[in-house]
């Protein structure tokens, strides 16, 4: 609300946080600016006494304008991991120094050879009872820690995930606090090789790093031992419950779903405002050039994405709320709702990040040549966002996790049990079994102007694809194959089933949101967006709906027609709908997307600051061109 807006203005206008346009800075300079701002930010957070995690999140996002920064992992992973996994004694030793930034930490999990598949990590921590120490090693090139943010240049400690060996046995992955740089000189400690992994597509201000450890010893007390423990003699004590880590994952995925919504909203804001400013060609001979937003093809590119941005916004809020609601239960030890939420968020993380990733690129393409310039801000939004398809769980793997839950629920239903929650539509399948028909043959009367009816259509599609995948899987199993092989041979079907399930959930949540909107005008425009989202999804996947007999040919025609009518209906509200996202110009970082629409003159002003324009005659004229012309 307003308070947030005021805070944002306060931060954005703070002279301490000013700097040159990042597009003109080298990677080293961008890292330096980010570190400078982070240092000041920490001081100011303390000055203002800001300690609430949400408030820290917003403050940080204003300071860094939504961009990554080198202390992200310290604030987002190192400190929280200490809070949740350290014993009281460890918290005494590490938490306050880390809170005071005497210790700057990162979270070193991913290795060169393994990412999402955690069990494959190769770093070892071998317990030596003689000295009561763990010996950490990176036994292969592939075991080198690779990618952790803030590791390359910034951190002096890392929480390292390693395979624990004690009494000659491997006990699986555990977390260890490892000092990596000398306090005071910041030089790497003996036995530690650490550095930056080099330039990336984006994340220029982040020093993603590598870490190689050779017989590096840490005291036994540096293993995070709130749950699992190694006793002085090397005896291993198992943790009580391993589902607890689900909670953190659900939380992080809810953030990514929110990021998908925000990043897509930013891209839509830029592309829609620019399309209202850009005039091109003629619709009618002799008339002035129309705004490109008046072309049907342009509307068809942008408005479904606008609807998607709103849909994802509601989904992100839903996951966050659900997580908040059940996190009390989790603390009480009631984990019954966690598995479904965990499975659902895996798929939604993948679905929303894939869609937003493609959507940002469509917005950029819709801005033509100028979208390709960094002044548009769109290249930057894309390169910053696209890694979320990979981190915190590679998307295809995430989809297959959701599929595993769907197949499990289907199997339960087949054996006569009832399932609850978002998958309860599978219960209908058992009723279906009495009749010889295919589930899909169940007639769904779809009214294409009614969101509630469209939810039913999406539900039927999901049911059909889940059933098809489960049956194909069973057929593979009947034929020959090991469980894993059969699973692999069905995985394309399984991903499709997960996608259909997620799509259904999103349409359902968007539709449910409509009745909560009290302002009639807002509800009307949201209903239009919701319809557009649902109908556009059908028109892009007509095969599924036709094949399952959910829609007839005539209805498909009506759907396509209605999508185009909705484009025209939404057109007058398009700019207002992106203005509602309320991005500050500084945060948007785009010349094309400026609130005032003064695009061309500001592109010229921006270009004049380009590094190539620092001197009127570039030095390479004297170095290369002139000598060449002289010689020829």
């Amino acid at each position: 609300g307003r308070r947030l807006g005021e805070r944002e203005a306060l931060v954005i206008n703070d002279p301490d946080f000013q700097h040159e346009d990042l597009n003109f800075l080298s990677r080293s300079q961008r890292y330096e600016q980010a570190i400078r701002k982070s240092s000041l930010m920490v001081m100011k957070l303390r000055e203002h006494g800001i300690a609430d995690p949400d408030e820290i999140y917003w403050f940080k996002s204003f300071v860094h304008r939504g961009r990554p920064e080198p202390l992200d992992l310290h604030l987002g992973m190192f400190l929280p991991t200490l809070l949740t996994q350290a014993t009281p004694e460890q918290q005494d030793r590490f938490f306050m120094p880390a809170w005071n930034l005497e210790i700057i930490g990162t979270y070193a999990q991913t290795e060169m050879g393994h990412g999402t598949h955690l069990r494959g990590l190769e770093t070892t921590a071998t317990y030596d009872p003689a000295t009561q120490e763990f010996i950490l090693n990176s036994p292969t090139v592939t075991s080198i820690k690779w990618w952790p943010g803030g590791l390359g240049k910034t951190s002096n400690h890392a929480i390292v995930l390693a395979q624990l060996y004690t009494q000659g046995q491997c006990k699986g992955l555990h977390a260890f606090i490892v000092p990596i740089r000398q306090l005071g000189t910041h030089e790497p400690l003996p036995g530690i090789t650490v550095g930056d992994i080099g330039p990336k597509f984006g994340y220029d201000e982040m020093d993603n790093g590598y870490l190689k450890m050779d017989n590096f010893r840490i005291p036994r007390e540096n293993m995070l031992m709130k749950y699992a423990q190694v006793e002085p003699d090397g005896t291993y004590v198992k943790p009580l419950n391993d589902k607890l880590t689900y909670g953190t994952m659900v939380f992080i995925r809810s953030i990514i779903v929110g990021d998908s919504a925000r990043s897509l909203s930013r891209a839509c804001t830029i592309a829609i405002r620019y399309s209202a400013v850009r005039h091109q060609s003629e619709l009618k001979a002799g008339e002035p050039e129309p705004q490109i937003l008046d072309y049907q093809t342009q509307q068809y590119k942008l408005f479904p994405l606008l609807a998607t941005a709103y849909a994802f916004h509601f989904v992100g809020a839903y996951i966050k709320d659900t997580y908040r609601r059940i996190s009390g239960d989790i603390i009480e030890g009631d984990l019954s709702e966690l598995p479904e939420l965990h499975a659902l968020t895996a798929g939604l993380k993948a679905f929303t990040s894939w869609t937003a990733n493609a959507g940002i690129e469509e917005c950029r393409m819709a801005c033509g040549g100028h979208g390709y310039s960094r002044c548009s801000g769109l290249p930057d939004i894309y390169v910053t966002f696209t890694p979320s398809c990979t981190y915190e769980g590679e998307n295809t793997v995430m989809m297959l996790q959701t599929a595993r839950f769907l197949v499990k629920s289907y199997t339960q239903v087949s054996s006569g049990q009832r399932v609850t929650g978002m998958v309860s539509y599978l219960n209908d399948l058992s009723r279906q079994r009495i009749q010889p028909q295919h589930v899909a043959a169940r007639p769904v009367t779809v009214r294409i102007n009614d969101p509630i009816s469209l939810v039913e259509a999406y539900k039927a599609r999901a049911a059909r694809l889940v059933e098809a995948a489960a049956k194909n899987l069973q057929a593979e199993l009947n034929h020959r194959k090991s469980k894993e092989d059969a699973w692999n041979r069905t995985s394309v079907d399984l991903v499709r089933a997960s996608e259909a399930h997620c799509h259904y959930v999103i349409v359902k949540l968007f539709t449910a949101k409509l009745s909560e909107i009290s302002n009639a005008a807002v509800r009307a425009v949201m209903t239009e967006l919701c319809l557009l989202y649902a109908l556009y999804g059908i028109s892009k996947n007509t095969g599924d709906f036709l094949q399952a007999g959910i829609l007839t040919d005539t209805q498909v025609n009506q759907v396509n027609q209605h999508v185009k009518e909705l484009l025209a209906i939404i057109r007058p509200n398009a700019v207002a709908l992106v203005d509602s996202f309320d991005f500050h110009d500084v945060h948007l970082g785009s010349v094309l997307g400026r609130y005032d629409g003064n695009v061309y003159e500001n592109m010229f002003e921006w270009a004049k600051k380009s590094p190539l324009n620092k001197t009127e005659v570039h030095e390479s004229f004297h170095k290369h061109l002139k000598p060449m012309q002289a010689k020829l």
């Binding site: 700057i104 091109q280 072309y295 310039s373 092989d485 185009k564 390479s620 290369h624």
Partner: protein, 665 residues
Amino acid sequence: LGSPLKTPGVNPDLASERLTASFSVEKLTARLDGGAEHTRMRRAIVEAIESDPAFSRENQYFQSQNERYEAAVRRAVHLQKKMREMGWTENGPEIKYIYRWLSGDIAFLLHRVFMRSISVLGSDKQVAKWIPLATEHQIIGSYAQTELGHGTYLQGLETTAVFDIATQEFLLNTPKISAMKWWPGDMGRSATHTVVFAQLYVHGKCYGVHPFIVQIRSLQDHSPRPGVTVGDIGPKMNFEHTDNGYLMLQNVRVPRENMLSRFCEVQPDGTYVRWGSQKINYFTMTTVRISILSDEVILPLMKACTIAIRYSAVRRQSKLKPGEQEAKILDYQTQQQKLLPQLAAAYAFHFINIYLHELFDRGYQEIQGRNFDSLPELHAFSSGFKAMVTQYCTSGVEICLRACGGHGYSLLSGLPSLYTRVLASCIYEGENTVLFLQTARFLIKCFMAASAGQPIPPSVTYLSSAKPGKCPAKDKLDFLSPDVYLKFFQFSRLLSSSAAKLQHLIQSGAEKHEAWNQCTVQLVKAAQAHCHYITVKIFVETVEKLDNKAGIQKVMKHLCDLFALHGIFSNAGDFLYDGYLSGAQMDLVTASYLDLLAVIRMDAVPLVDAFDFTDKSLNSALGSYDGQVYQRLYEWAQKSPTNQQVSPAYGKYLKPLLQNRLSKL
């Protein structure tokens, strides 16, 4: 390249892939090059360039925009020297291999466009005056067409050139900010001259857009000429080495002779005369769209496939069977479904590109003989295929990038720069949506003509064939028959229903332009479907003509089937509609498609090896021939400036933060 077994240091995971090839890689390479003698020549040229350290691109991922620009200029200057040394010439057969290897990372590419435009649009006298100067690099040229406010829609350009009879000069002006020239390459820092496209005014009458040669910088000290404001447009998604520029002209005068006048001229008294046919000129411009496809669009997809598929054979992740070694990610069906359709598309586009070049060569001969009949068809071809191939290749490269997980995101993978380069091709030489609609306009015209019983060009005769009834296929193997799947793509419903809707709208009183705008979403789809059909058809015909020996025809048939079935699988709705295909048949298509993935999987690495890219031209830590991915990534990262130079950040910010906390916190 030799036998993989004899190549020491090759990762066994990659070596084993090469042992099972079902065809001769060397023979396929020769086929792709158009004959073994071409392969030999290409390799000799690549060898000559790669052995010259001046052409090394190893550091490019670490360089700033300024450094990239300087390196590109240095390379361009060095190339002149190298060509003299080697006896290579601009018109020789070597030139395409040279530029292909350089993959555009060199200055003065627009200088070449400058020269070409003078050759095409200039009078003999103008050619005689300017071409020798440009060839000798006494002047450096650019080509200034696009403006801040207008790109693809050329009639909208706003720069003006007003003829002044008194001085026999043209007065060039940038009347408003949106008229500023924006984007031309080589113009920001390098060019001394440029061809400026401006609205010609004589005696207050506008004659439309014409080209003028304008000197923009001093030949002495390179400073901008009076009245000229020129500079670099700032950082972009890629092309850091190119100084794309802006240009503002204030009362800049050029002599009457500087208007390029092969086709029209302003005479001393101000009389505007037009002669000859513009059609040849028009044809030349059209061919540019086809000429970019090979090196700028299809090659990046081939490189991306090479990198992603080799890496997927080396990367092991998770287990398929308990107790076994972790599986290569290439063995996962989901990974195959991402990569192998892209590989099939790379081959499909290679063949369509050859076809288009043959078509345009024939067209050129006809036009030389003053026969302009095929011009509309060729124009529709160039627009549609430029749009389809660039769009498909762009999305294909991005799929490859994301299929490489986190490491694909590192610049050292080579994939981000391939992606950011190829995606620019969706916009330059005509924005894709606009181009699809040009093709659609041609198709609609042909469709109407066919309905009225008039003759139509050969590429579209299928439009008049009878509507197919039901698909006869009963077994999943039936879908591996080109006769069966070609019928799917010959599918003109999108076009016929667009035509019907257009007519309906017009009959119910809509103005023509409004009716057209109402149908554009569907018309774009219709144009895409047409290009898709031609691509499948040409792939089928190419496979039929291939040599049966060395296993090449068989593996190409698999790729052709995959390309076709992937198209059906991805557009299922279009084929289910009307009941041409039943739901059960669609399940068979899917099954057949998934089976093919497993078959092609066995040849995946040899199929990318056949593209025959050297490691240096791939410039990728993930895609090298030997598959030593992790070692290379580690060693290369250590060379990053962030590890070589001391960052001032620690001393300036981190140290005080770490140590002065007590006083400040």
